[in-house]
Symmetry: none
DNA sequence: AATGAATGAGACTTCATTCAT
DNA sequence: GATGAATGAAGTCTCATTCAT
């Protein structure tokens, strides 16, 4: 969780003990504002969003937003950071604990990521960072290092493990392959947050993930083995 | 080409007849302005870009921009449309005329698209439309129909042809597979236009396209045939 | 004393009769708030001071200030009036009762005024009125009449008495001379409240008063007598 | 002259050569705005003045002010600096070149200062700096050093010269006396800029200066000589 | 065709004031 | 009596757009 006031990451302070009734509502505020801001930023972009719209959508007035976030920029940073942080270690743990085949691990990672992204607020981040990178260079660097690079490392380790186990083709250029493998999900999420509503050809996202897994696993499988994770 | 003044698609008007010497230079203006606008819009987004920055980058003053484009919105529409239109029929012609294998056709299409996109101004469009869709709904619909859907139709026809010819797996869900297949390139282009500069892990785009083609062709190949287009 | 609520001058109302124990502390509040307000107004000016700063400095919260003063303006008026009123008749009494020489009386008045001003809260008033006159015309008129003009009358009477007694030069333009005579102290007080802290050349205010008295008394002394009050 | 944009002192640039007709007006703008700002700042203080009022008084609109001054603060700094700078060396030159008596020199300096201050825009500075010192500490320091201290040095040198020449009393505490001597004029100027309009007792400023000179010169004169500069 | 001074609507932000607790 | 969350009017500043030259 980041400090609502500045948007800077923050370690826990244990000051939640005594809490008058009427603060309950107050403490929910930053969350409501954050959600409203996220939706607006995704829809209209940072510069295209008015603070008043965010306030309205959160059910408060302009001034109230400033009680919790000291500027529009701080609010944007908070949207990105608060939505990223909870999901950071997720994938790394799964890989470390996995005992099955590498193909199954890869499939599992993609499905899980899909679930997490698709149904949580994390899904806004790739679209936001793509759109606003140049306007928030600090944040962009943070995102690249703590999210993108870390995500790549995880996938690379899975690929190497699969190659060593003879599951995946040994001649694969691991670093490049990882980027290819990430593409379908990344694309789907971004599309969902922007052009989706103008696309009259609907997409069954669960089916999409299955097809992506299928094609990728066949695409990287070693010779004799062309079974994807779901026959 | 769209009418510089309104940014609305336009069929040729034969009004170039009388053309004093000094208009030559003048007619180069819209192009310079368009390029400058494209760069700024990609970098900072529509709302985040100031007309004066565009003018400066184009080497003119603010007022001059308004001689050619009647508003900031018209300029944005012109950037998108003028960069889209030239490439529209491209793929369709290639498919219609192709006589080789479907796998080779698919690989050729991807490489060609890459060349076109990677080296032309078209590459800005996916990023722009992703970021600004909600702010330009008309344009978004136009883009979805005339570019995205048409592009899908082309790839679908290639897949069907490959399936009929026994090259690709018959059980493929064609419409979904198309979206998976498009992802790597789409992703690469978008990344290039936004987060790339914050990514210290460089990427050899030509290699990336080859790996993507390789994985995809293997991923969709029918049983006995797992050769990608370049062994 | 002015009514804390409105800042309007007020004759005593006998409403202090019933007074529970816990009001004791509460009745100290206006004083603390008034002092805090005075300091802030002197430092930052009326418009430049925030109610919250005043509250903080007084050790209460914003809401509490409004329990005692109905608006920021009322608080400002109270600062000025409450600091002026106690000192109003002071000088007049001294003159009426004086039996010594006029030169000594003048010196005594200046020293006493200095003591009163220099060490009391009255010293903020000239600076405040100089800075905010145009924003508080009512108050400015009140100040001019009840303080400035009354002060001039007092000094004029001293001068006239000295002239009649042959101590001071008879050709003196009394009304103008009074203003000259007032200048050094007025200036010192104002300087103390504003630029003093940026002045690295310190000033011994007691010595300053002595020098001022010395120069002035010599400056206005009649022929044979050029002794200041302190030889 | 300070750079209109930032308010920072500036050395001359000789770029006035070719000047289209319509720039004439434009180049007068900063001056008009500066005058308007000066009047408003003196009247209402820095925080109490609205940019729109300044614009209106200068006969332009809000936006225009920002073409010439990048912020309200920069405008304030420009008001102070542009009004101070022209008068800086003035007094020092007079003293250096003087050949008459020290008493006459002192009287001349005071009269000249009065003329300069009383009739020029410089007169606003003492009031502004007194009121806003705490809000513009940089400027306050600049003012103290370049104006106040320099002014004191000049007067001190005159006093010392008079003492050495036997005109003024040798036991004078020069540094303190200087402050006493400066008071009347300083006070008059400040009063004129603030409380004057609420003071129904008018003051003949020229007479005031004469009386001040008279009292001061007698006040500091050595024994036998009690002639002011004007018998 | 080109300029750049000027405009003014509109955005971000602040802060005096209110009020439920 | 005291609090501090909430409000919304008002102020600073920006920038798309216009227009005289």
């Amino acid at each position: 969780m980041s400090d609502p006031k500045t948007g800077v990451p923050l370690q826990e302070e244990g000051d939640d003990q005594e809490c008058p009734r009427w603060r309950r509502r107050a403490e929910a505020r930053p969350g409501e504002i954050l959600d409203a801001a996220m939706e607006m930023f995704v829809e209209k972009g940072f510069a295209g969003t008015r603070m008043e719209e965010i306030a309205q959508r959160a059910g408060v007035t302009k001034g109230t937003v400033y009680l919790y976030y000291e500027s529009k920029e701080a609010l944007f940073r908070a949207v990105v950071q608060d939505n990223i942080l909870p999901s950071l270690e997720e994938g790394e743990r799964t890989v470390a604990e996995w005992t099955g085949s590498s193909a199954d691990l890869l499939a599992e990672l993609m499905r899980r990521k899909w679930q997490m992204i698709g149904r949580s607020r994390l899904s806004c981040v790739p679209k936001l960072m793509t759109s606003e990178a140049a306007n928030f260079p600090e944040l962009a660097r943070f995102y690249m290092e703590e999210v993108v690079h870390r995500g790549r490392r995880v996938l690379e380790s899975v690929l190497r493990r699969g190659i060593e186990g003879g599951e995946f083709r040994p001649e694969l250029d691991v670093r490049t392959a990882v980027r290819v493998i990430q593409s379908p999900l990344l694309n789907a999420v971004t599309h969902m947050q922007s052009l989706q509503r103008f696309d009259d050809e609907e997409l069954d996202f669960d089916a999409f993930v299955d097809v992506a897994i299928d094609i990728i696993l066949r695409g990287i499988a070693a010779n004799g083995d062309k079974d994807g994770s779901d026959a």
